[in-house]
Structure formats: structure tokens, C-alpha cells
Symmetry: C2
Subunit: 715 residues, 2 copies
């Protein structure tokens, strides 16, 4: 096995215009953080207690068992090693890579819900057990028939004042809880979202702490039907589950009562604000933006490194086959997603920091910032996860045939990360939430209110510039202006469309529905503007030295220009840009790609993913792709024996065959010429279709192997 770096990749690294480490420091918030990240990743990846098995060679059941074991071990190690909560994700992501974690819902949803929604007494009762994995829980909200629309949930929790209990029920088939991760096999508890009923009156969905399995033998408790929902596109390692409850009683104290309360006499106490839960949503959506950035950065790392190792076709007669990345069409597939990876990486950071800043205000009761934050996070979650979906697949296809192999790591990456477009709010619904806020703001602005924050620009649509004005399409200010103008115009157009539908006689819901394609388009434009502007703003960071500021500026320009030419109609429609601007933009894209070409490998190296996280033979840091492809293939379970198919299933088929009498002579002769013994036993007529067949015995390998040649089999 070669241990040196592939010479093509080595050359790429030698020719880069900057030191990747500088960008790595920029991306992770300074050299100390990078150092910490590497230490923890190395601790995880070099720990022999983790076997880091190749999940691609396992059945789903084996994958679940393997990863559950790994996850339990990780939990213990994090405590043992006293890893700080701030650094924990560095360690976790090195252990699991971009794969989900079977205990992910326990850590990421169940515990945080207890922290955020349990009273002090409830925390004392459950937190210690949950933090020590005596209780393992999940968050059971989604039902078979109900997803994004929370109020549609059917599960009921009916208060029984006599016994001071809630009676939990799954009244219909579609009310079955469906999808919660860890519910299928792993959890013994869950936070159940159910419609609260007190004396026949409904109070909407509330969270309840419910034990579903015995702590002694892990069997479902009486009244509980629970199981795995079956295999999915990805998430093989996760036991997403279903749950039906039949008259399951829990004490009144099991409703999580930090916000809403039910008193012993059945009095219901409302939460101080219904918007408080928005904070968590903003946080979760910011993590999805980060996931999207990770998805794209991993995918482009794999595809760009491989495109420098792979050589294909003949660009010039007699010359050697060029590196695939030298094809401009290949650059045009990959570089825009490389730029998008950077753009979303920085977007996610901004969102997290806005969330952190706002959190303290929110915790002090100032929730004025929440609607804007909520609307912005919804749009950015949707935009980034959509782009990541398309981008991961573009990267996979850009790797040609080998991208289709699990050896590339790309199919598994896609299958595991594509749910980001669906969970935590389906993307179209998210965009329409953003649109609702945009319409509200736009109307406020029409009524003379001054807008602030991310929607301030809606106060005035810029005038379309006079014809003949020339524009420098590389200027980031001009590009931000163009995106701002487009967003403002599309918000205006959507509002006009809404008004027209109303004037044509539709009621508000029907008008909203009729205008929804335009509304989504406006929300998308608003979100893209935010991403472009944020990227440009981050480049004004004074800590950036000139070598990396130059290359990052090129990425930002490419990101904006690519968004511009792929949506060129939006900029041309009202004449804001001209055909010649668009042509200029295309030429700039070509020139930028040529400038980025020698830096491409350094730009993905800067993401700093160790091979153990990439899990890709095509994306290996050392570029020794082909040797490892073969090694990997040899380990495929199908290669355990030389035979096409063997075992008891086939034994009965091996001995006796039927051959069409028309071919009998030539087939038996040919078989004999190949050294196969053939003995004709009996010729007979096969009744239904009056075909003449002969029973024949053929020799097979003495060890009961299946002779592939003998395939004219009737049974």
C-alpha cells in the first residue's frame, strides 16, 4: 500500500496561493479552537476502543447494534475525558462522522426538553437518571398522519382529577407516533406531545413525560405498542419508531410544567408567552444551516480532491489525459458548491451568534426580536438544506461511476443529510413562514413604519437604473445591491399578486394559496440576499490577511455571480440588469474559476476534515484512490466465496435440470466439451404448453456448490 501522497495532489498543494491553515483558523474561530478540534478528533479516531467498522458492509440491524454500542462508549468517554460542553461536538463528530447517532435524540432533544420545560422538582426527579442513561428518552411529536402542522396532532392526554392522572390515548391509526429517532428499540422513556383535555375542553399540544418500556427487561409497558418503522433511504443506524398508547395513565406531575400548568383541581395556567418555544426552533434551524455547510464542505472535499487525481479523455491529441478538474465544465459543477459551502458556513456562524445575543434578551423577557429571528432562520434553513441536497448530488455525479459506489462516501452522506429539507419544518412551509413575515413587514412599511434588521431594505425598492449605465459585476457592493433589489422587487410582486387575488374575490387563505409560488420565490430571494450580504460583510474582518482575503473574495464573487446567472431572469425582468451585464457576469465566472483552479485543493483542505470523518476513498487526503478502491472492494461480503450462489437454498436445484429437447443435443454436447458430465434421464412432455423437455443430470462441484451454467431450471 502506497503511503506517499499522490503526486498530482502534492503538486496542487505546492501551487496554492495561500496557506490553508489560515483559512482553517478563520473558519473555526482561531488557532486555539483548531488545536482543540484536532486534539479531540485525534483522540476519537485513534482510540482502539472504537473499531470504526465499515458500515457499508453491514445489514441494517448490524449497523444499529454497532453504532448504539459506539454511542454508549462515546458517552462514557466524554465523561472520562472530562470534555467540555463547548468542545463536545468536536469529539462527537469525529466519532460518528456525518452519520447520525443512535442516542442523538436523547442528547439533542430529550435532555434539552427536560432542561427547558421541566420544573425544578421534575428536574430533580429525572435529570440525574437521564444524564446517566438510566432513562433513555426521545421526543415523540410527529404522528403517522401529522408532521409540520403541530395543532393537527391527535394523541390525547385527558386529565382525570379523581386519580390525579393523565390518561394517554392514540385514538386513531394516524395518531400513532411515527418517526421519533431512538423510539423503535432504544428508548425506555419519551417526551410525548399530546393534546391536553381537561373536562372535555382542548388546550392544544403539551409535553408529557412517559415511561414506555420496563427498566428491568426493556419490554413495552402495558398499553404501549412500540416498534421500529422499518428501513429508510438513510439513517440505517437509527431506530426511528412508532408508538401507540391505550389508556396509559401517568401522574399529573408528569406533564412538563415549567410553562403551562394543570393544577390538582384541573385549573389550567397559560404560559407567559406562546412565542417562547421559538428560541429553540431558531437554534435547531441554525444547526441545520451548519449541517448544510458541513454536507457541502465534505462533498466538495471529496469531489475536488478526486477530480485532481482522476484523469480522463484527451483534451489535446497526443497529450496525456488531463486531470478532470481542468475541464471548465467540472469546475462549473464543483466551484459554485465550494463557494456555497463557505457561504453557508459563515451564515450558520452568524445565525448562532445572533441567536446567542438574542437569547439573553429573550431570557430577560424581551421577545421583540423573536419574530424576525424566527422568519430569518426558517428561510435560511430551507435555502441551505435545498442547496446542500442538490450540491451533494452534483458532487456525487461529478465523480462519475465511482461516485455511485459507497466507497466514495457520497451516497451515504446524501442519504443521511437530505432529511434536513424535511425535518424541523418542511422547507416549503418554512419559506412560506418567512414570506408571511415579509408580507407583514412590507405592509407595515407601506403604512409608513420604519423597518429594522434584516427587512429594513423593504422600506424602499431601489429605482431601476437608467439604461446604458455600466456596472462592474465583480464589485461586491454592486452584487449585494442587485440581490437586494431583486428581493425587494419580488416581495413587492408577491404582495401585488396577493392583492390582485383578493381583488378578484378570493378570501385571504385562497389568495395566499394562489400567490404561494410567488411568495416562496420572494422568501428565497430574501434568504439569498442575506447569505450574499453576510459573506461580503465577513470579508471586512480586519484579522484576515491579504492572501486569504483575496481567495475568499473570489469565492464570494463566484457565489454571488453564480446565483445571479442561474436566476438571471429575476434581474432582467424589470431591466435592473441588462443582457450585457449578464454576459459580463458569465465571463467573470469563467475568469474566477480559472483563478480559483490552483487554489481548489487548498480551499477544501482548509475545511480540515480528517479521513476518518470523510469516510471516502475518493476523498482521501493522500489521494491514493485506486489502491484503496481495490482493497475496499475485496472486503465486500459478496466476495467471501468464489461462487455465484451457494447453500441449502440451491442444493435441490443443482442436480436435476430440464432442457428443451430442441436444444438437447447441442447443449449436452457443448457441456461435455467443457468437461461437465451430463446424463439424460428421461424425455417428457410438459403439459400446459406442450413443450418437450428432457430431465438431465449434470455434474456439480463435489462440495454442493451451485453450478451457474445449469440455469434452465423449472422450479
Amino acid at each position: 500500500m502506497a503511503t506517499t501522497v499522490n503526486p498530482d495532489l502534492r503538486k496542487e498543494r505546492e501551487n496554492a496561493s495561500f496557506v490553508p491553515e489560515k483559512i482553517t483558523n478563520f473558519l473555526y474561530g482561531g488557532p486555539e479552537r483548531v488545536q482543540k478540534k484536532r486534539e479531540l478528533a485525534s483522540l476519537a479516531l485513534n482510540d482502539p476502543d472504537y473499531h470504526h467498522e465499515d458500515l457499508n458492509f453491514m445489514s441494517r440491524e448490524q449497523q444499529y447494534e454497532t453504532c448504539l454500542k459506539k454511542s454508549l462508549l462515546m458517552t462514557t468517554k466524554i465523561k472520562q475525558l472530562k470534555i467540555d460542553a463547548v468542545d463536545e461536538h468536536f469529539y462527537r463528530s469525529a466519532v460518528t462522522g456525518p452519520s447520525p447517532d443512535p442516542l442523538g435524540l436523547h442528547v439533542g432533544m430529550f435532555l434539552p426538553t427536560l432542561y427547558g420545560q421541566a420544573t425544578q422538582e421534575q428536574k430533580e426527579k429525572w435529570l440525574n437518571l437521564a444524564e446517566n442513561y438510566v432513562i433513555i428518552g426521545t421526543y415523540a411529536q410527529t404522528e403517522m398522519g401529522h408532521g409540520t402542522f403541530l395543532r393537527g396532532l391527535e394523541t390525547t392526554a385527558t386529565f382525570d382529577p379523581k386519580t390525579q392522572e393523565f390518561i394517554l390515548n392514540t385514538p386513531t391509526l394516524t395518531a400513532s407516533k411515527w418517526w421519533p429517532g431512538g423510539l423503535g428499540k432504544t428508548s425506555n422513556y419519551c417526551v410525548l406531545m399530546a393534546q391536553l383535555y381537561i373536562q372535555g375542553k382542548s388546550y392544544g399540544p403539551h409535553p408529557f413525560m412517559v415511561q414506555i418500556r420496563s427498566l428491568q427487561d426493556h419490554k413495552p409497558l402495558p398499553g404501549v405498542t412500540v416498534g421500529d418503522i422499518g428501513p429508510k433511504f438513510g439513517y440505517d443506524v437509527i431506530d426511528n419508531g412508532f408508538l401507540a398508547l391505550r389508556n396509559v395513565r401517568i401522574p399529573r406531575e408528569n406533564m412538563l410544567m415549567k410553562h403551562s400548568k394543570v393544577a390538582p383541581d384541573g385549573t389550567y395556567v397559560k404560559p407567559p408567552s406562546s412565542k417562547l418555544a421559538y428560541g429553540t426552533m431558531v437554534f435547531v434551524r441554525a444547526t441545520i444551516v451548519n449541517d448544510s455547510a458541513m454536507a457541502l464542505s465534505i462533498a466538495t472535499t471529496i469531489a475536488i480532491r478526486y477530480s485532481c487525481v482522476r484523469r480522463q479523455s484527451e483534451m489535446k491529441p497526443g497529450h496525456p489525459e488531463p486531470q478532470v478538474l481542468d475541464y471548465v465544465t467540472q469546475q462549473y459543477k464543483l466551484f459554485p458548491y465550494l463557494a456555497a459551502a463557505y457561504a453557508f458556513w459563515l451564515t450558520g456562524q452568524t445565525m448562532m451568534s445572533v441567536y446567542m445575543t438574542s437569547s439573553s434578551r429573550i431570557s430577560k423577557g424581551d421577545i421583540s426580536v423573536l419574530p424576525e429571528l424566527h422568519a430569518l432562520s426558517a428561510g435560511l434553513k430551507a435555502l441551505s438544506s435545498w442547496v446542500a441536497n442538490v450540491g451533494m448530488e452534483e458532487c456525487r455525479l461529478a465523480c462519475g461511476g465511482h461516485g455511485y459506489s459507497h466507497a466514495s462516501g457520497l451516497p451515504r452522506l446524501y442519504a443521511n443529510l437530505t432529511p434536513g429539507a424535511t425535518y424541523e419544518g418542511e422547507n416549503t412551509v418554512m419559506m412560506l413562514q418567512t414570506a408571511r413575515y415579509l408580507m407583514k413587514s412590507y405592509n407595515q412599511s407601506l403604512q409608513g413604519e420604519k423597518l429594522a434588521g434584516s427587512v429594513a431594505y423593504l422600506s424602499g425598492v431601489q429605482p431601476v437604473p437608467a439604461a446604458g449605465r455600466t456596472r462592474n459585476m465583480l464589485d461586491l457592493g454592486a452584487l449585494c445591491d442587485a440581490f437586494r433589489h431583486r428581493a425587494a422587487r419580488l416581495v413587492h410582486e408577491a404582495a401585488m399578486q396577493l392583492r390582485n387575488e383578493r381583488q378578484a374575490g378570493k378570501d385571504q387563505p385562497d389568495a395566499w394559496n394562489a400567490a404561494s409560488v410567488d411568495l416562496v420565490k420572494a422568501a428565497m430571494a430574501h434568504s439569498q440576499y442575506f447569505v450574499v450580504k453576510n459573506f461580503a460583510e465577513r470579508l471586512t474582518d480586519s484579522r484576515l490577511d491579504s492572501s486569504i482575503s483575496a481567495v475568499l473574495t473570489r469565492l464570494c464573487q463566484l457565489h454571488a455571480l453564480h446565483g445571479l446567472v442561474t436566476n438571471s431572469g429575476d434581474f432582467l425582468e424589470d431591466g435592473y440588469l441588462t443582457g450585457s451585464d449578464i454576459r459580463q457576469a458569465r465571463r467573470h465566472i469563467n475568469a474566477l474559476m480559472a483563478k480559483l483552479r490552483p487554489d481548489a485543493v487548498a480551499l477544501v483542505d482548509a475545511f480540515d476534515f480528517p479521513d476518518g470523518i470523510l469516510n471516502s476513498i475518493l476523498g482521501r487526503y493522500d489521494g491514493n484512490v485506486y489502491q484503496h478502491l481495490l482493497e475496499w472492494a475485496k472486503a465486500s461480503p459478496l466476495n467471501k466465496n468464489d461462487l455465484a450462489a451457494r447453500g441449502s437454498n440451491y442444493e435441490g436445484l443443482m442436480k436435476r435440470h430440464k432442457i428443451h429437447t430442441k436444444n438437447l443435443e447441442s447443449v449436452t454436447e457443448a457441456l461435455r466439451s467443457h468437461g461437465v458430465e451430463v446424463k439424460v434421464i428421461q424425455k417428457h412432455e410438459y403439459t400446459p404448453e406442450k413443450v418437450n423437455w428432457a430431465d438431465v443430470i449434470m455434474s456439480a462441484g463435489g462440495d454442493g456448490t451451485f453450478l451457474m451454467a445449469a440455469s434452465h431450471i423449472l422450479t
Copy 2:
């Protein structure tokens, strides 16, 4: 289990404006063909000899064995039932569904290669054996390091005049054959593409018939290394393989010599035309266009039926949750792909019929039609498979969470059909081949030559209409004109770009590369124009009755208008269309979708896929989605026991646990309160990090089950 049809779906069918059967007849070429298709599908789907197992619950090895057995059985049944060659695909597609067939390469490539490239003597020697599955073969062309670029193949076949043999070698790692279906385990023969060498001179790639495994015990022959290349995104049932040859000798007569020949003295005889192989390529690409149509028609059938069963959110306060298909955003996701399914279905038919017409001319030696046919088929293959890729995923995501489950059938459909963008010529390479023909034709036209066929329109770019001219954007003639103008303009622009690059000093290959993004764009526009025009032309079929001609016209309009607004910049850039045209187009799309809404289910019913082919719980004809989701989930192998994890792997872990001494008291107390026996054995210091731990024994179920609560495990 409900046997009646879901009432929502029933209502949809009652309200349709036409009888689906009429469109079914149109799509399959008349009622007789439909009748035949249904007979054969029913024969396959109701035959108890096929078990029609759910592959989703199997390991890859099980899937391969199951489907290989099924495929062998199918082969026998086709003979038994005397199914006509013309009808065979009806039967095959009912048995395998949209899944690949482990013997697919034998039937689809190995046998046709023998038919087309073997001499009469060679046919006599091998055909009988191959047709009777004594020989099972594959087509081994692609190598680990070489795909679409055929001339880059490294495998060698060196003629040895002394022994009258070819010596076959895999000179490097990257020369290993890689990817051929059926090579990994199933085949005992293959057609090997290898560089022919005679007396040190290379003559390019040629086909050779090579035995790779013993017919007696199926073991690889001496000098042959062969195996499975490992798991992939999809194609689980296929043993795509690798093959390396070391001094393997085959008789001179094993080169397939119908076209090129090597005489006993080593004299090489050239084939009459190097373009002859193009015919097969055209055929194969036409089948990929058909596959793309099938992919989209299956995906839209599933998503549209499910969108009528699924209810979600509250459009109007107090009203019931609407069917998801009533959301205009959902229509905007699905209807354009429904229209594309029809568009490509008709494109594939036209391509096949052009191919058939041309074949007879080609077989008579007239190959003048081949370059155009080749260029057209390359572009249409690429366009249709790209659109199908995006469309299948759009349909999956439109099914929300349940689309992600294998119960939907959509993940498997996507994983099995996405390779269409890569195999038989990588799509970007295909588009550039089309572009090469377009540039050649454009230059001929500049030199005054008259162009014919699909490129005739390049002879003159239409003038941009005067401002102020109003256009009826629903008129199919006007829409075809717009697509023609766009294609002609983009071909012209790409040619200008090429000329500019040349004038700036680049040599031809570099100029081609620099202009390649524009060239792909031009080829795409050309292909889209063909599809739109072909759709419009098919509507002039006099056999169409008015009810179906009305609905098909709406689909055609939607297809064209959607292509227009998603590429609006291309039409706006030179002022051919105006902003107001585009706005008009958007309004028309909304109106068309509203008109298509009541016909949507009938339009997918018309594709006439039985449930056994759809393999989707969401897409069931009877719409009883939720009941069957639960049934299906219960059959998941993870539900075989109630326990999170059990078996010998865990036994060692169950008994003894370590608990952090800090938590010892509260954890043990809590466990006891839950009825778990706990005994503390020993407290001790864990050295590396000085953490204090206690060894604890906990009770587990008496049958050796793993107690999930006991998760603080060290090993």
C-alpha cells in the same frame, strides 16, 4: 385490512374530465398493446412461483441471491410461455419492476454483442450456449481508471502468431475492469474490450470473447482475478464486478470478427465504417430516455396519489385539513414533472421510431443519417436523465417524511435510476458531443450549406420581435418559436464565444474547453426545443379524441411554460420575450395547474402501473396508505424482538457496569425504585484521568437480554 378505495382517491377519479384508458391507449400504442401488457403483467404478478419478496428487508447478499433466482426463473418462464420478443419487456418489467435484473447485462449487452459483432462461425459456436444460459456473460469495457473515454482503455490483447492466440493482460491497477454488471459473481464468460496489439503496433480497442470461470465449479480460471466491487448507492441486486487478467491466452478465433479481423499471419483488416457502432449507442440512449420517462411517471404516480390521501395543516380556520395536492406549491412541485414524464415518454417513442426507420437505411450501408441521430440521442439522453434525477427527488421530498421511508418506494427508485446520468456516456460529455455537432452544423450554415433534420432551424436566427408586440403565451406555436429562438441564439452565442477564445490566442482544444459551459447550455436548449416541439407535434395525432387532447394540450403548455419561466433569463436576455411575457407565463402556469388539479390522479392512473410494479405503499392504487404503512413497519427485521440489542455480543457487557461515584447513590437508588437489583462490588480509581468509578452488578432479564438502562459501560 381495508379493501375499499380511499374515499378521497375515489372522488378524484369520479371528478376527472376524461377516461384514463384513452390516454393509456395513446401512450402504449393502442388498446391491443395495452391488453397484451396487462395480460403479461398479470401473469407475472400473480404467478406464485415468484415470491415477490420485499427487498427492503434484506441484506445485499440476500437481495442478490433472491433476484438472481427470480431472473433465472423468469428466463425459463419466458420460454415456457412462448412470449414474443416484442412483448418480452412487458413481462420482464412486471417481474423486476424498476429494479435492475442480475442477468440484465447477459440479455441486454452480451447477447446483442454476439448477435451484432460475431461472425457466423462464432455465432454457431457460442449463441446456443449463451441463449440457453450455459454460458452467462457480461460486457467488460469500463476500467477502474477509464470510463466514457474508450480510447483510454489499458487492457491489452497481444497477438501471438506462433500459437495463433491473443495474450490478455491487465498491465496496471487502473486497467482492472470495473463496474460490469454480473461480472462479480454470476458470469462465466465476458466480452472483453481490449487494446489490440499486433507486432508491437496498437490498433485500438476491440471485443474479445473470454471465458473467466470454470463451467464445472464456477471458480476463476488460471490468470483471472475477479470479484464484486462492493456495495453501491443502489443496484444492490447486481454484482458489478472487477476483473484482472494475467497472461490469459485465448484462440485467435475469440476476437469478435464481424467488423475488424486479424488474419492468421497477423494482417489486420479494418472495419468498413467506424461509425457502425453508433447505431447501438442510439438505441441504448433511446432506452435511457424511456427509463427517464418511466422514472418520472412512477415517481409522480406515487407522489400525486399520496398527495390526495395526505391531509395537512389548516388552510382556513376551523376547516378540515386540506388534501396536500390542493396547495399550489405542491402542484408546482409535481405537475411540471408529470408533464415532463409525458414529454419524455413521447420523446422516447419518437427516438425509437426514428432509430427503427434509420436502421434499415444503415443496414443498407447508408450511414448519412448517423451523425445527426447520434448527436440528438446524446443530448436527449442527458437532458432526460438529468430532469428525471431532479424530478424523482422532488417527488420524494414532496411526500414529506414518509417519502424518506423505503415504504414509499421512492428512495429505491432514485438509487436504481440515477445511474442513467452516468452510464452509457457521462451526461456532460454527451451534451458536449451534441454541441460539437451543433457547432459543425452552424458553421456549415454560415458557409451557405442548407441544413436538414433537427438542426435545420440553425440556418437562420429569427429576428427579435419589435417591442410592444403582444404574444399569446399559451399558443403552442408561439412557445415552440420561443424555444427555437433561444436554442438558435445560444448556439450562435456559443459559436461567438468559441471564436473569441480563438482570436484571443487559444488553440482549438483550449478554446473549446473555455467555451464549454456555453456549449453545454446551447446543447441543452437544442434538446429542450426538440422535446417541446415533439410533444406539440404528437398532439396533432388525429386519433386523439377531444377530451384527452384538451388535457394533453394543458400538459404540453405547462411543460413549455415551466421550462420557459425556469430559464426566463435565456428568453429575456436579447429581448425576445419581455418581462410582461414572463409575468403572463407565470399567470398561465397557475391557471393551467388549477385546471389540471382535478385530472391529476386520472393522468397518473393513465400510466397504468400495477401496484406490483410501483412497489410503494404511498402510491397504492387503493390509497389505503396508513394501514399498510403500519403492516409494513411491523415486518421490519428490527422488530423481531422487543429488545434494543441482544445476543452474545452483549452478554459480557450486561452484568458488570461502572458508575461514576459522584452519582453512585442517586443512580442506584433510582434503579432500585424501578425494581432493578443493584449490588456495588468495588469502588476504584480510574487511572488516566483520576475519575472515581464503582463496579456495580445490575440485574438483567433472565434470558440474557441487554438491559438498556445499564448504559454506563466502559468496554
